[in-house]
Point group: D4
Chain length 224, copies 8
């Protein structure tokens, strides 16, 4: 039976392409989706595609994809010409949050947006963030990525006036396991006007940034 249906008309209407959430899909399903898109000449962004699952895809599909293991993303059809950088900054609390920050960066690049990456500026050593503050302030949208207790969200949003999108990560253990603590900290922040996306959802943050910049295609990931 035909198990999927790419939203091609939608792509036609909006000049963009689709994203595929790979984690809950079988390798057979991913193979079929990618092969179908490739046969149509479509571009495609694949997210949450772990190295083990990637290695089990068919050879032609693997060869057609630009795969990046740390961010678990793959791109079919290459990247568009970048529009020029400087509009989106991705600020990352710690080394452990890099995979999620990288997913956001890849999703932005897939849409032609080049992000500035500011890493390892957790609030435990506040001076690291302060040193980079002027640089961060120059962007229209800031994507903040942090796990554990997510204090970075409040500190950052209290210091910059631009749009701030918080991406809580599942980094942490004990009460922080799974990312709920960071998520709730972002939602309950005493610094107002934070916009929040789901735990580990770097792709969603990128898409929200594109909506803010007026560059967002109405693309829904994951159920394609």
């Amino acid at each position: 039976m035909n198990e999927f249906r790419l939203d091609r008309d939608r792509a036609a209407r909006t000049g963009t392409s689709e994203a595929v959430l790979c984690e809950p899909k079988s390798t057979a399903q991913i193979d079929a989706i990618v092969a179908h898109a490739a046969s149509l000449g479509d571009r495609l962004l694949l997210t949450r595609l772990g190295p083990r699952k990637f290695s089990r895809l068919s050879v032609p599909v693997r060869e057609a994809l630009d795969y990046d293991a740390p961010t678990r993303t793959a791109i079919l059809g290459g990247l568009p010409a970048p529009r020029g950088a400087g509009r989106v900054a991705i600020v990352c609390g710690g080394t452990s949050d890099m995979p999620v920050a990288g997913e956001a960066a890849r999703a932005l690049a897939f849409a032609g947006e080049t992000a500035t990456l500011v890493v390892d500026v957790g609030v435990a050593g506040l001076w690291r963030l302060m040193e980079r503050l002027d640089d961060i302030r120059g962007h229209r949208v800031v994507i903040a990525v942090a796990g554990m207790e997510g204090a970075l969200f409040s500190v950052l949003a209290g210091l910059v006036p631009c749009a701030v999108i918080a991406v809580p990560t599942s980094v942490g253990y004990g009460v922080a396991e799974g990312g709920r603590t960071a998520l709730h900290a972002a939602l309950a922040s005493c610094a107002s006007g934070l916009a929040v996306v789901n735990i580990d959802n770097g792709f969603g943050a990128a898409h929200a940034a594109l909506r803010i910049l007026g560059e967002a295609p109405p693309v829904a990931p994951g159920h394609a």
Copy 2:
């Protein structure tokens, strides 16, 4: 002892004023904060100020405030001249969500932004939303307000390409009581790029909209 400290320097730096979260404060604390701000000629937005607590404030404070019971907001110092409408739409799932939608509208008005209000377009009667879609699409930011299962967020974000801020409300009972179901629906939406704020946080959505429009002062509510 002196229990509060308005962030006046911050206001000076940013040309704006402060917001006060009233629910966890005593009437004595609110009286003192408003009187102090009034003596300085500051403007002030008060949120989550229920009618009973408002009625227990001192007479001069009550008289100084422009109070709106349905939205539980009060404004000290009047509204600025509106900048012209058409940039922010507030889309509201049902009658029960009106107080939260109203809080967002008042917070935007406090900052000079006039919002378009689109009410009672819950997804159970999809045609109601469809009729208003072209109108909604003309805005740069859409604030979507819904409780219960929050399906409005996904439907709306799948239909408009602009920035969408979801405000889940605590409207509902059983598993929906308290608003977690609507919140989680917004965060887990299959329509990507939704930005989410805390349950019932109309003020926060307004502030996020101002950040997106480049009109946001770095003001943090609630702990003033």
Copy 3:
């Protein structure tokens, strides 16, 4: 010791057979149950039987079963003659929800009911659902299968007047992990009259459909 007891009298009373929930059972237990049923000439439906566990069953048991890996179901004793299609539609939000939709289809087929499968009609691309609406409306029972935020349940139930059974799936991550978000969305839907079953319980939805159609044997799965 004799660890199980098939409810044969019940089968005699109702003209039907039993279902076996395999996940919490050891391979030794499954082997014994299937061998016993086979020796009596009984038909049997096995659910949640993963490929690894299936591969560890005894050879004669494996050979006696019609196994379908994607839906993790196995059937002993073959299918009855189908009663003719057109009474039950299975509507599926995304590719990732196919295994659960398939479990429902197999359980219906085991009882002689042929379901219509409508796939990949998630609400993020609403037109996909709209195109198929007239087809769906022609059925007496609609089984809706969706994960993540489960907005499909509300949209669908608002558009069709027939019986709608929601099967939330565990597809999703972050706040949607495990399927609680989709489950709660189904239960709290603003579109009234939705009937809901447990997360990933395609079998239960099929059985509920059979009860509605007056074809349901009083069979309880899982503890056999």
Copy 4:
């Protein structure tokens, strides 16, 4: 501002009327909705309307409504001629569950369906249920209402082959407070094919029964 919008076109299409969830609405909102519907000659079912809130409605609205305090329901425009009884049975675990059972009965009556009420048949005294079993079995749909641990759902569904809709109630304390224990028991029942609605949602169960009987209008409550 005009805060609500009755789905009158929908009513026209389907020959039915709307339901209003009153708990989260202000008395001013309820007054306006009822007055508007009355001016159009519409019928209306109001649910979760507590005695205190009812007593604060305007006099003409109160007089126009047929109010029933124990079930917290009110009806505008009277009941239709009943279609004859015998299709739906409402089975109730204990005296404490009567308000929810009554809400279901009133919602069915509003649609012209007369339900059979079987009360106080909790499983702690199993013979009470057994005595009534033949009577219950004669109906096409059984609505089971129970709180605490919800064992009634499994026992009943194991004994009758017809459609069973479980309504968990918030009756209970400690771990049962709020109704989650009964809800989860219904969803996880070892007796298969149970259809479940939200906690205390007697109205939803009635609507699901109407869908099953082919008498259901596509009406969504609560956000009107």
Copy 5:
């Protein structure tokens, strides 16, 4: 460093031996505990010792133990002479609950108590339980073992007047995953006087039965 300390004085005072919870311990720790007890001629009951961990114990320790894989228990030093059966019945909802029921039976045997095992009497097929009721009623203590929605606890406790100890199991999926649903059902039962132990805690139920029979040594498992 010496990481453990058997409570030998306690054993001396009470004429009994100790139990060891193996799941959170390393194989090195278990090896050391068993070797030490063996050198002293002590008897020992080991619980939650999975086959993989057992296979990694040292050869002499493995040889000294009477290991039973399905119940994940091991016994050092053999069983005492049984006191005669007929005082404790273990009633088991389904095949999947057998490992937990077996742990209880082994713990009772370790203390010289022979239990009657009544299997596969889930409430979905009520007649199976009814057939065995007279047999069950003859015992002083009934240990009821069930997962999923745990309706067996209420039905059984409503039918027998003796002490009933409920052991909820982690058998189930969706809302039943992990055993909380069965646990809460036992605690909130409408049949009063149920005594409940932790999820999957067959050992604890056995020990509670021994306390009731006046045969319980004050032995604490797990932290030895």
Copy 6:
């Protein structure tokens, strides 16, 4: 409509009477139940009947009841002759736990069992418990009542070999609010063989004690 049905046959079979959980019932329902039982000469135990609800019962019903406000219990028909004390001890962590301990004592007295009450022996001052230990050890059943972190359960069960029934209470705030912390501590105790009942369920503990002593009628409370 007749909303309740006393299980009189059951009482006839077992020589005992029924218990009524009052919290979720209306005063009209309680009035009717008590009046009906009084007219039959039945004895009745009412639990969770707060002073405000009691004061709203009808005069004849109030006069027929022996009401005890601190324990929220009422007794219809007086107490039976006590069988002599010394079999059940109720051990209470703190003053705040007295109402629940008292409910247990009243329920035991209703069945003719006189309990020994040992109060204010929380583990923070361990010597208080130690002083009473020999007294406690002389009983066949110990009911332990404690809130907050429930450490009393483990300490006590480690010191006495008899049957111990833990009643966690809802005394506490923050993470202990509602009683889940004390409940989980009882279930997860490192001292094995603890039997646990629902939070604040003094009645259930009393009934479990009666089952253990062989004096328990198969009476189910709450849904009468």
Copy 7:
């Protein structure tokens, strides 16, 4: 019956007095405890004693107590001579957290310790905290009090090397309601070495500070 037992021997051993958690106690119980302590000349600290409950205490008890409504504390027997200030600082995120901060200050004063209070230094306006940092650093113990997302804990602990005790408060709404978000943020802080107490537990923080300073009597509150 005698419902309480002051731990007077303990007081004799340690030269200190007892604390009483009033929230779960009846006014009759509090009256008795205070009168008893007064008759013995004992000092007593009462916590979580709301104004309404205080007003219902007996006149002599009310007159004997030094009551402070904002902090809900009362002191019997006056304060000891202060030992001199400068060892403990209480740092408070916002005006709404003042009652909890005040409870800590009162509990310290009850033990002769004078705390420095630093108020309204929430991280949304970071400069407010920075201005007071040198002052804070001069103390041996810092008690940090904050609600909502609790980012203050991490920022503060990253800036001072002394002992930091975090008191999360229940200030907040939506996901922050009840204080779990602030509690989890404190426990999961990326700034290490934070010591945490229960939500709103100002008394516990004070007691922990006294333990650290070597001034702590082994007094347990609440169950007296």
Copy 8:
């Protein structure tokens, strides 16, 4: 891209070194961090580094580290000269809690503090703790490590007047799985003044002890 940034300036200011939380980091990230620190001659403490991940680090990094598998810790650059023992005692409920107790001991040793280890003193056998009490009382700080129901925390804090830091562990199953039960027991203890850290956070407890002793560098782990 450069993914991490050691807080070297901070180390310079405070004379100490950094800790690295390894669990959420890739082996490539850990290799880079250790190699960088080694090239600078820095000391480093690595926590939550499982044996499998350790075995996948590069050879030179593995050789540079002093790795301890049971505690999952590694040390780069050796230990400083110990300052002399006797200030910190680590008290451990059971054998299963040893890895967490060991992590605390290693973190203290990394800072030059030698801890006294008191093992296997769970409250189920209270005399084991009592025997060691005088020894424990001689220390300025007690770190208590316990899982399951965590009763050790309350018993211990009721018996010693010094600073007590509770480390709940994830040892346990059923309701205790993951450590929430032990965590909540510590936070809600009836023995006041307990300071609590995250589940399994031996490192955090050690750091808190160092803060109390005035030896704590302002080092934040995990996000380096």
